[in-house]
Amino acid sequence: MSGIEVRNTSKNYGSVHALKAVSVHFEENKIYGLLGRNGAGKSTLLNAITGRIFADSGEVLVDGEATLENDHALGKIYMMSEKNYYPEGMKIRDVFKWTKEFYPDFDTSYANKLAERFELNTDKKVRTLSTGYSSIFKLITALSTNARYILLDEPVLGLDANHRDLFYRILIEKYSENPCTVIISTHLIEEAAGVIEHVVIIKDGQVIKDESREELMSKGYTATGAASVIDKFTADKNLLGADSLGGLKTAYILGTLDRAAVPDGIEISKMDLQRLFIQLTNA
């Protein structure tokens, strides 16, 4: 099977179950949003996929090949993480040069073009970069590798609004010209929402949602009205949560809405991805 297959993967840190028998399939040429609260297990999952940590059980396959001690399979994946793994004293131009040693399809001229668009001076050393530019040089490196699977853990950390905008544009340009699988793990959900095709939500080390963004979004809605009317309306529905303002109640519901069955006095509106996420992952 093509794509990245995570099979029954578990990882414990002492008494903490970071991943609990996770199985998930990241298909080829799709942009995924990997969403979860702090400590939900997102980074552990990404690290298990790339072999940066060893899972306690389970396996990861890339295009059908097990990744364990398999450079050929791992070479198809590039992961950008929050943590910096490059030598602090290395110049950015040398980061590009050395990345090409490990990823032969790395496109140096494309990387230099992106550096220009982000106004990143490639003569600078890794250590001298601000948080934002540290994310930028790692993003540029990731997008230039031409790896089949690009994993981006918090890609827009520290980026200002203009640079975040530029990043999403560049990502779409790149993806349109040369489709690949991109897994974006981010807390800035609304900004990434449009770009994401498929959503994987992880909570307490388990995958709780794995479906297309459109499908997921079509199921979430809010109903607002007098508390008594709302309570009656939600009695037979999958209620995620509710907010009250005096006698006015807003219910967050997951399910297919039958508009004809909505009684008078109830206002229905759509839930955006971020709101839906909050309701799904609240304790």
Partner: protein
């Protein structure tokens, strides 16, 4: 693009392109923006943009010229006007009647309000 909008993004894309055709920004027999241009511009997934364009293809508003891209069909403006008039009834008149009933407005009162609106 309005992500708060009730409708899925691909439907909004289709409507934006229709608006462009109706306003003359994309005249008949000229090329509309590519799915890449649309997706980069609105920062949306190319698959979503393609789904939006396909609505226009299925309804014959645009057609594909092999190797060139998508073009606005001849007669698209007339087709769209007809379609939009029907939607106008659905989107505005039906809702207006419903809201009027809630507020206890009579038909006569509505008519005079419409007249007032036109004279503004």
């Amino acid at each position: 693009m309005n992500f708060e909008d009730e409708r899925p993004i691909f439907q909004q894309i289709a409507q934006q392109m229709e608006d462009g055709i109706l306003s003359g920004a994309f005249p008949e027999e000229t090329q509309i923006p590519s799915t890449t241009e649309i997706s980069v511009n609105y920062k949306i997934n190319p698959a979503t943009a393609l789904k939006g364009i396909n609505i226009l293809v299925d309804s014959g508003i645009v057609y594909k010229k092999r190797g060139l891209g998508m073009f606005v069909s001849e007669g698209a403006v007339t087709t769209l006007r007809g379609k939009r008039k029907e939607e106008f009834f659905e989107n505005y008149i039906t809702k207006l009647a419903g809201e009027a009933r809630k507020l206890g407005l009579t038909q006569g009162e509505i008519v005079s309000m419409i007249e007032r609106g036109f004279n503004q």
